[in-house]
Symmetry: C2
Subunit: 346 residues, 2 copies
């Protein structure tokens, strides 16, 4: 085992005290020029690097941030993660990544693990189970410990903290309006079960758009799929039993999958039926036809979440002292060939 260079070692070798070495390495003006030189030369020669742990313990700050996400094999979260990581790195923070796999328990365990000195703050999107069970004790504990927390995308009103969201309601509203402008009237919604904050918002926007245009909301045109379960029979039955000319889906997979299924039945997209999805991911771009999609700008969300967190960490002000903010990211409709009148975008 190679002996690691430490201040103590350098001090011993050079016959000076530890604090002299420490100061010399920092170019402190308390130390003589000659000593500084000697110390720095020696340190460089032996490749001295200060031990992060010791510094963290001393300063009570780790320069790590914990990112807790439900899923990493998923375009949107991946993109947000990228934004967080990039911003954080640029500001001297490392990212500890935890994946909860949509499980409340994993969320709790991961946070507990990191909350005891491993990170200076958290950025997270709630797991499906957490949203379903409405169980937030672990987040309350983080709050009590006054560890800064930023929630993004999947959030809850139960916890007072900084948040970054997209304008789900408005985005869905705009998507439906796009259909209406295109002359569609039998507009379906394919969404998840109710407990997701984002799905709630998107459904609200869907209803609002129809109502504001004087169209009745036909509950039979709303299909609620069990989370991430692509039950083909359910989807096929839905399309067989309803008269539909446009479909808004709350995520990309639902959109691509149902679009493929109706095409297999011989339905022409977009002529007979238009599709709009959420999350402008890689699938939307390469689908046939290209899927018109509400882009969520995940990278930007990540950057903003990281900025909010790091600002709060560095200000040292708790949620009580400095009021919490909620940033809304405007989503953008990327038009492709699954809607008409579209200028194709690659």
């Amino acid at each position: 085992m190679k002996r690691k260079m430490t201040l103590k070692n350098i001090a011993r070798e050079l016959g000076v005290s530890i604090s002299t070495v420490s100061k010399a390495l920092k170019n402190s003006n308390e130390i003589g020029a000659e000593t500084i030189e000697r110390v720095q030369a020696f340190a460089k020669l032996y490749n001295y690097r200060p031990n992060n742990l010791a510094i963290s313990l001393k300063n009570k700050r780790t320069n790590n941030i914990g990112v807790i996400i439900p899923d990493i094999v998923h375009y949107f979260f991946t993109t947000v993660f990228r934004g967080i990581e990039q911003y954080s790195k640029k500001h001297g923070y490392n990212v500890i990544a935890c994946v909860t796999d949509e499980s409340l328990e994993r969320e709790v365990v991961n946070m507990e693990m990191l909350a005891n000195g491993s990170v200076d703050g958290f950025i997270m999107a709630l797991s499906a189970e957490t949203q379903k069970k409405n169980h937030f004790d672990h987040l309350k504990r983080i709050n009590e410990l006054e560890i800064p927390l930023v929630l993004f995308d999947r959030v809850t009103d139960e916890i007072e903290c900084d948040k970054v969201l997209i304008n789900d309601r408005e985005a869905a509203y705009n998507a439906v309006m796009k259909f209406i402008e295109n002359g569609r009237r039998k507009i379906a919604l394919i969404t998840t079960e109710d407990y997701f904050s984002v799905s709630q918002g998107r459904e609200a926007g869907y209803r609002q758009a129809l109502e504001s245009f004087g169209l009745p909301v036909d509950e039979a045109l709303i299909l609620k799929l069990p989370f991430m379960d692509l039950d083909e029979i359910l989807i096929n039955t839905f399309f067989d039993s309803q008269d539909i000319d446009a479909v808004l889906c709350v995520n990309e997979i639902f959109a691509i999958h149902s679009m493929n299924l109706v095409q297999k039945k011989g339905v022409n997209v977009p002529e007979e039926m238009e599709f709009i999805g959420f999350t402008d991911g890689i699938l939307s771009k390469y689908a046939k036809p290209g899927l018109t999609s509400m882009a969520q700008h995940g990278f930007q969300m990540g950057e903003i979440a990281a900025k909010m967190l790091i600002d709060r960490i560095q200000s040292g002000l708790s949620e009580k002292e400095e009021p919490c903010r909620t940033e809304i990211i405007e989503s953008t409709l990327i038009e492709r060939e699954s809607t008409i009148n579209a200028i194709p975008v690659l």
Copy 2:
């Protein structure tokens, strides 16, 4: 700022010594049953949690592992990451994730940052630039510090360490054989520039298969695209100027993109031209037609890489004491509609 519970605090409140508290919390049999109970009750009441940093400093182990990858918005790396994270978590390790964006400098900076006490070991795939420039001083330094390192997928022979790979050569060989069995003879290869270890292996397998079947290798049928650059003109020209009936692509994007382009020209896939890609990602599954693909089993690679690393960390044996191993993950051909005779798989 909430005062954090520490051993010292507990000791003061309870009028005992710090070491008594420490031992009591560990149910040490040096301590009286009654004291143990008192201490534990108090600790629980005030939600005492030991400080990870202090423990790490003391033990000289962090229970963190550093994962350095070129890109996270990318199915294969994401999947590997997932495997690493899951295995690590199960074995008590957290994952610090760094994305290099294919840059050597970012790779160097990230490793330097983590090498000074933040992690017990590294798992990484080399960045494009690192492979291109063949610059490995940063890895040699890690070796000198005797910090365990596992390379996966994008590796180099210059560094002696544990490695996890797929059988690139054999996989490409098998893919080409599949084409040959299907009666194809004008088999093209679309690959990256030469410096990637994986592309080299795949190209070798491609050549080997043709040769072993007595087919000449026509260099004009090998298209080398600049890394991740989807230059449509280049691809179109390639297909226009060559007579091709099957295409092997070293990654999923190249495959999907060129398949889309030839289809746009009116080429029938798979009747007139077959396609096989690498990385069985989400695009392959949802493409039209579904893309036959060599699955790289990223999750398993991640698990194995994590296991190799953690085993080495826990054994405490350096690369010199315990010889390095290279694990090969067999890739599997997932047949879809872009090749003939395929039993479609969803």
